[in-house]
């Protein structure tokens, strides 16, 4: 990758990743409002907003973060399978994305219920705190790992490194 393209890809990746984290925080706030608010309109609005935020902000950002992360890994010397921290980031990002995609249809069902339910029914509907809470923890772990880049190369990375060394010596 050229330096300009690399900067652009890094900017896109950071934007998507941090945007994903921020959107999950907003979703969590809506989930808390759905659980704690005594007001039926607030609860209904929270569920509808959770559905819209999930499908139109969180899901696209998650997929974009995964895609730009793959581009960053494959387009630089970090590689995708050479360093443990990159590998863990990949696994956790795929895990979070799969859970998100499996969970969002449920959110749509509950938002539909909330659209038509009266106050008492809404109260029984509850909120959605576990999934965004766990998701936020996973995203923060990935974020910390990407910043600190803990040492450790995979056997594949070590083999590639050893294979590249003779080629570099003049």
């Amino acid at each position: 990758m050229s330096p300009g393209l690399r900067k652009f890809a890094l900017t896109a990746h950071l934007t998507c990743s941090l945007g994903w984290t921020g959107a999950v925080m907003a979703y969590l706030a809506l989930g808390i409002a759905a659980v704690t608010s005594p007001d039926a309109q607030t609860m209904r609005a929270a569920w509808i907003a959770m559905e819209v935020t999930g499908w139109y902000v969180i899901v696209p950002l998650a997929l974009a973060a995964l895609l730009t992360g793959l581009v960053m890994a494959l387009g630089t010397r970090w590689g995708l399978f050479r360093h443990y921290w990159v590998l863990f980031s990949l696994v956790l990002t795929i895990f979070a994305t799969v859970v998100l995609l499996l969970h969002m249809p449920d959110v749509s069902v509950l938002a539909d219920v909330a659209r038509g339910a009266d106050g008492a029914s809404l109260d029984r509907l509850g909120g959605d705190l576990f999934h965004p809470g766990l998701g936020l923890v996973v995203l923060l772990v990935i974020q910390a790992m990407n910043m600190y880049k803990p040492r450790g190369m995979t056997p594949y990375g070590l083999r590639k490194q050893q294979a590249q060394r003779p080629a570099r010596t003049p």
């Binding site: 387009g75 630089t76 863990f88 069902v109 219920v113 339910a117 880049k149 040492r151």
Partner: protein
């Protein structure tokens, strides 16, 4: 780690903006943090798969909120669930016609 050596092209070829370079050491063996972290991640993923496989429809999903006896015992009227709680794969707010009158 934070004390990793800076690399001359750490902001170049690696796309790295932290000053930490791809490792060039010849440390063999798996680092301890990898073993600990890998075990935690494996357990979490395994638990997720077990929950997904062992709990049928309604055990994990909207039924947990809308059917009686679910976690938290939060229930909605059966009519509400029957009318609107379909599990038949909604794919987003814009792709479904809600058909519900606003309350």
């Amino acid at each position: 780690m934070a004390d990793s050596p800076a690399h001359p092209d750490s902001n170049g070829e690696t796309g790295n903006d932290t000053g930490v370079a791809p490792e060039h050491g010849s440390a063999t063996g798996t680092p301890r943090w990898v073993k600990v972290f890998g075990t935690v991640v494996a357990v979490v993923v395994l638990l997720f798969i077990i929950v997904l496989l062992t709990r049928g429809p309604g055990g994990h999903g909207p039924g947990r909120h809308t059917q009686s006896g679910g976690i938290g015992a939060r229930t909605a009227p059966a009519s509400v669930v029957d009318d609107r709680g379909s599990f038949a794969g909604p794919v987003g707010p814009a792709l479904r016609s809600s058909g519900h009158a606003s309350p």
